[in-house]
């Protein structure tokens, strides 16, 4: 039987309360959101804390998807299922539903949260790749107020983020730009498993020319990383199979996969290439479909 080590359970009633508790208890305390990354680690005794601060009551305040003219704001306690079912996200960022359909399984998705996924900072976390692809920024709150950090700066390394000891992630913001669409694809060994490799793409067209494009990969390096070289290649070009082939080559070359039980390095590079091509292609197709509708 797997049981976590002993700890004292506390329940936060507000963001300020949670931050106050973290401030007082220091690194002996940890927040628990959905608990679907943290509790398994605690059960294996890979993580032990004296205090666990349950923030699920904050879902009332931090569980939202709000569309504004310039951006979409999503609260940190928004659960996977809410992301999957959001009509606003389907319209603006179809990449979310693509990814959520293949993250874990429906019962896990009833619990796991956006904030927990990003703060876990697992290099295979699909939502981290989605946020990187969409150029999201993270709103972090501490006792001194809030600060906004880009995805590049948010992930410091595997399982390491910019969130300080007495801080918490409260919101993730996604800039809205016209003329774009997005897609996500993942290769997994079996339904509900973590990615062998996954890729997200977002692309914007103006008068038939790519005005911007972004690709984010998961499970092929220490961080879910964006690939600026691909953006530079695509900008100002017309979409074509040859172009996406080149983008795929860059993806395969610039990632750092390791051989493990999920697959060999070479295979993962091949997937990075193929999934980059497919998601770019699908994003362009979706822009076309929307124009026709």
């Amino acid at each position: 039987m797997q049981v976590p080590g002993q700890f004292e359970y506390q329940r936060a009633t507000s963001v300020e309360h949670a931050i106050g508790l973290l401030d007082r208890l220091g690194d002996t305390a940890r927040l628990v959101a959905g608990g679907h990354s943290l509790l398994p680690m605690m059960k294996l005794r890979l993580a032990n804390f004296d205090y666990l601060i349950d923030i699920n009551d904050l879902h009332a305040d931090l569980g939202y998807i709000t569309a504004e003219p310039q951006q979409i704001r999503i609260g940190a306690m928004t659960r996977h299922r809410e992301l999957l079912e959001s009509t606003s996200l389907k319209e603006h960022f179809p990449i979310f539903a693509d990814a959520e359909r293949v993250i874990a399984d429906p019962t896990v998705r009833n619990r796991g949260t956006l904030g927990g996924s990003l703060c876990q900072a697992d290099p295979s976390e699909d939502l981290s790749a989605v946020c990187t692809t969409l150029d999201a920024s993270c709103v972090i709150q501490g006792s001194a107020g809030t600060r906004v950090v880009s995805m590049e700066d948010f992930h410091r390394g595997p399982y390491e983020t910019a969130v300080g000891e007495a801080e918490m992630l409260i919101e993730v913001r996604f800039p809205l730009r016209p003329g774009g669409s997005s897609a996500y694809e993942k290769v997994e060994r079996r339904a509900g498993d973590w990615a062998v490799v996954s890729a997200g793409a977002a692309l914007w067209l103006r008068n038939g020319v790519i005005s911007d494009a972004r690709v984010g990969l998961a499970a092929v390096g220490p961080n879910t990383a964006g690939i600026p070289e691909i953006s530079a290649l695509l900008r100002g070009q017309e979409p074509s199979e040859e172009l996406f082939e080149q983008a795929g080559d860059i993806a395969a070359r610039s990632c750092e996969p390791a051989t493990d039980t999920r697959g060999a390095e070479g295979y993962k590079r091949h997937l990075a290439k193929e999934l980059t091509r497919r998601t770019l292609r699908k994003a362009v197709d979706r822009i076309g479909e929307r124009a026709q509708a």
């Binding site: 797997q2 049981v3 700890f7 004292e8 608990g35 059960k43 699920n56 339904a191």
Partner: protein
């Protein structure tokens, strides 16, 4: 905690998992406990109306909330149509996965009274039948949907 409509109060350790609270503290052994790693879904119960894997939820997290287990499926001495479907269509062999499967199926039918086979398979995709009886599980859920539609 409200369990199957009844309020229960216990003093517990923070680290006690919901599955063990239900089985050991309350004696509700209908909820099974299998992989212990949130992969098999035999421990699925409802938390505020949504199926969750109770081996990955602290009992304390469910404090003040509503939990429903397989024991709470029957109403007024009558089995839920999902339970009847599992009997009618041989939805169980050893029965180990059954409580979790039935809780997920009930939640699915409450949201979507007429699910396709693909919908049913998707709903139970985080749950493992060690006897591999998926075809009859799907048929059982379809039977329940049809029976409810006929009523």
């Amino acid at each position: 905690m409200i369990v199957n409509g009844e309020e229960v109060t216990r003093e517990i350790e923070g680290r006690l998992l919901l599955v063990h609270f239900l089985r050991e503290e309350l004696g509700l052994t209908g909820t099974h406990w299998g992989c212990d790693t949130s992969n098999c879904g035999t421990c699925v119960v409802w938390l505020d109306g949504e199926p969750v894997k109770s081996c990955t939820v602290l009992a304390a997290m469910a404090g003040g909330h509503e939990v429903r287990t397989v024991e709470g499926l029957e109403r007024n001495g009558e089995l839920d149509p999902v339970q009847q479907g599992f009997i009618a269509c041989h939805g169980l062999q050893c029965g180990f996965c059954t409580p979790g499967m039935m809780m997920t199926a009930r939640a699915l039918l409450d949201r979507d009274p007429d699910p396709s086979e693909a919908d049913i398979r998707e709903a139970i995709s985080g749950q493992i039948c060690r006897c591999t009886g998926y075809a009859t599980i799907v048929r059982s859920v379809q039977w329940a949907a049809a029976t409810e539609a006929a009523k």
